[in-house]
Symmetry: C2
Subunit: 292 residues, 2 copies
C-alpha cells in the first residue's frame, strides 16, 4: 500500500488520482484524519498499516500565495522543515522507503556558466544564502534535514501546472492575475511529476535528490503567447515593468525565478517531457473544457 500524506491538496490529490486511475493500492491521509506531525501518532499509524511506500505531499505553501508564510513563520517552519525530519526518523526506524516533495524555489536565476542548477549545487535562495522568502528558507532547511536520509527521495517540484481548475495551477494563475511578471522558470507538469515520482520506486531508481521539472524553461510571455495560439485566451496580458515594480505593487516576499537542470532525472529514466510540449498539451485540454 502507498500512503499519501497531505492527500487533500492540489499536489496530494494528484497523487491520489494517479493511484486511482492506475488501480494502485493506496491510502490518502489528511492531518484532520491523523495528526501525522505528532511523532507518536505517526509511528503508531505506520506500524499498524505497514505502507510499502510513503509519499509526503504535505507541506506549508501559504494561501493565497507564498507571502502568507511571512506572517505564519512557526507553522511554515514546522510543516516544511521539522515535519520532514520527523518523517525521516520514523521511516528510518520502520524501514519504509519514502519520498518528500521539495521545491526548486530554493534557487534563483541560472548558474554562472549558463546552465540550470543541478542537484549538486547548494541552494542560492535560502536562509543560508540570502535574500530569500521565508517559504524558500524553510524548504531549503527541510532538504538540509533530509541530507543523508536512508531510502528517501527528495523530488523538487517547481511551479506546478496542468489542465485542472485549481487556483494553484500556474496556467490558471496566469489567466487570473491582473498583472504578470516576466521571468524565466523551469516548471513541472503536475500529473507527469506524480507519475515520474512514483516511477522512482517501480524503476528502482537510486534514492536522493531529483529536479523534477519539464526539460528546459519558459518565459512568462512565451506561455501567454502559447495561450493565444492554442485558443485558450485572447486576453491582453498586462505585465509589471520589472521585479522592482512587482515587489512594490504586488508582493511582500522575494520570489524565486530559476532554471533547473533535470539531466539527473532523465538519466535515471524518470525524466519529464520538454516543457513546451507539456504546456501546450495542458492548454489544449483547458480549451476543450472552456469551449462547449
Amino acid at each position: 500500500m502507498i500512503l499519501i500524506l497531505g492527500s487533500a491538496g492540489y499536489l496530494g490529490s494528484t497523487f491520489v488520482n494517479h493511484c486511482e486511475r492506475n488501480a494502485m493500492e493506496f491510502v490518502g491521509l489528511s492531518r484532520s484524519d491523523v495528526d501525522y506531525t505528532n511523532r507518536d501518532s505517526l509511528f503508531s499509524f505506520l506500524q499498524e498499516n505497514q505502507p510499502k511506500i510513503l509519499i509526503n505531499a504535505a507541506g506549508y505553501t501559504g494561501k493565497p500565495n507564498v507571502d502568507a508564510c511571512e506572517s505564519d513563520k512557526a507553522n511554515c517552519l514546522m510543516g516544511n522543515a521539522v515535519f520532514p525530519g520527523i518523517l525521516r526518523e520514523v521511516c528510518e526506524d520502520l524501514r519504509i522507503p519514502w519520498g518528500h516533495v521539495s521545491s526548486g524555489c530554493i534557487y534563483s536565476g541560472r548558474r554562472s556558466d549558463g546552465r540550470g542548477w543541478t542537484e549538486e549545487d547548494p541552494p542560492n535562495f535560502s536562509f543560508r544564502s540570502p535574500p530569500c522568502s521565508f517559504y524558500s528558507g524553510t524548504k531549503a532547511l527541510g532538504e538540509e534535514i533530509l541530507d543523508g536520509a536512508e531510502s528517501c527521495f527528495v523530488w523538487r517540484l517547481r511551479i506546478p501546472f496542468n489542465d485542472k481548475a485549481s487556483p494553484r495551477n500556474y496556467l490558471r494563475k496566469l489567466l487570473n492575475y491582473e498583472h504578470l511578471l516576466e521571468a524565466e522558470n523551469s516548471i513541472s507538469h503536475l500529473d507527469e511529476f506524480v507519475e515520474k515520482c512514483l516511477g522512482c520506486f517501480s524503476k528502482e531508481v537510486e534514492p536522493g535528490i531529483y529536479n523534477m521539472t519539464n526539460q528546459g524553461s519558459i518565459f512568462t510571455s512565451q506561455v501567454t503567447t502559447w495561450m493565444k495560439e492554442e485558443g485558450v485566451s485572447n486576453k491582453q496580458f498586462s505585465y509589471f515593468q520589472d521585479e522592482t515594480d512587482f515587489m512594490h505593487r504586488a508582493a511582500i516576499a522575494h520570489r524565486s525565478n530559476c532554471v533547473l537542470d533535470s539531466t539527473k532525472a532523465v538519466n535515471a529514466g524518470v525524466g519529464m517531457r520538454p516543457v513546451e510540449e507539456a504546456v501546450r498539451e495542458s492548454l489544449r485540454h483547458m480549451k476543450l473544457e472552456v469551449t462547449p
Copy 2:
C-alpha cells in the same frame, strides 16, 4: 502563579530555585509532565491553570555541547524556533505576559565601531548571516518568529555560569576541558540572570529584546587567572593554538564568541553586575565547596 517551562534543566531549575527561595507562587513543568510543544495540550493547561506569567526556559541546546545539534536538526529547530512560535500564539490568545530565554550566540565578535552588539543590531551569526552553527541559526529564527509579539520578553542569555556543579556551568567546563580556546565573550551569571528576568515583570519593564549579560566581557585566560587568584585551581590550563586548531581538534560546528552591549537592560533597571565581580564571587563559592 509563575509557570516555568523546562523546569528540569540547568536554566529552568535556577528559575525554580529562585522562586522557592523568594516564596513566589510557581509551577515548574517538564515536557514529561505535559507535552507543551503540542498546541492543544498547552492551551488546555494554560486555560485551566491561568498563570500570571509564563517563563520559557525550555529549548534545545545539544548534549554534551552545541555540536550535537548538527545531527539532530529537526528537534533543534522544533525546540528553538517552532516552539516559541506556538507559545506566542497561545500566550497572545490567552493574554499571558511571558518571557523567552534566547541566546547571545546569534552574534560573533564585536561591532565594527568596537562596541558590543545591541538589541538593534541584526544577528550576524545566523542562517541569514552565515556561517553559523545549526543551534545559533535556530535561536535567531526563534527571535525572528517572536518579532512583534505582544507582552513578550526575549532575554538573551550568554554562556551561563555560577557556583553550581552542573556540567553546563561555564566555570566547571573550563576546569574540565582538556584544552581551552582563548576568546572574548560576554557571559551571564545564571542566578543573577534569573533574578533580573523576573524583575522585568515586577518593575514593569517594557517588553522586547534584552541582552542579559554581566556588564563588560572576559577573555578565557582572564577567567583562568582569576581561578588561580581565588584558589579554585592550580591547574596548568592548556590552550588551543587558535580557532582553526580548535575546530580541527575539538569541534564540528562553528562557535559564537561575541561581546554584547547590555546598556538597554541597565537603563531599564534590570542590568547585571560587572562581569569580574560576578565571576570572582562564583569562584569564591566554588572554593568553599571544594576545600573542606
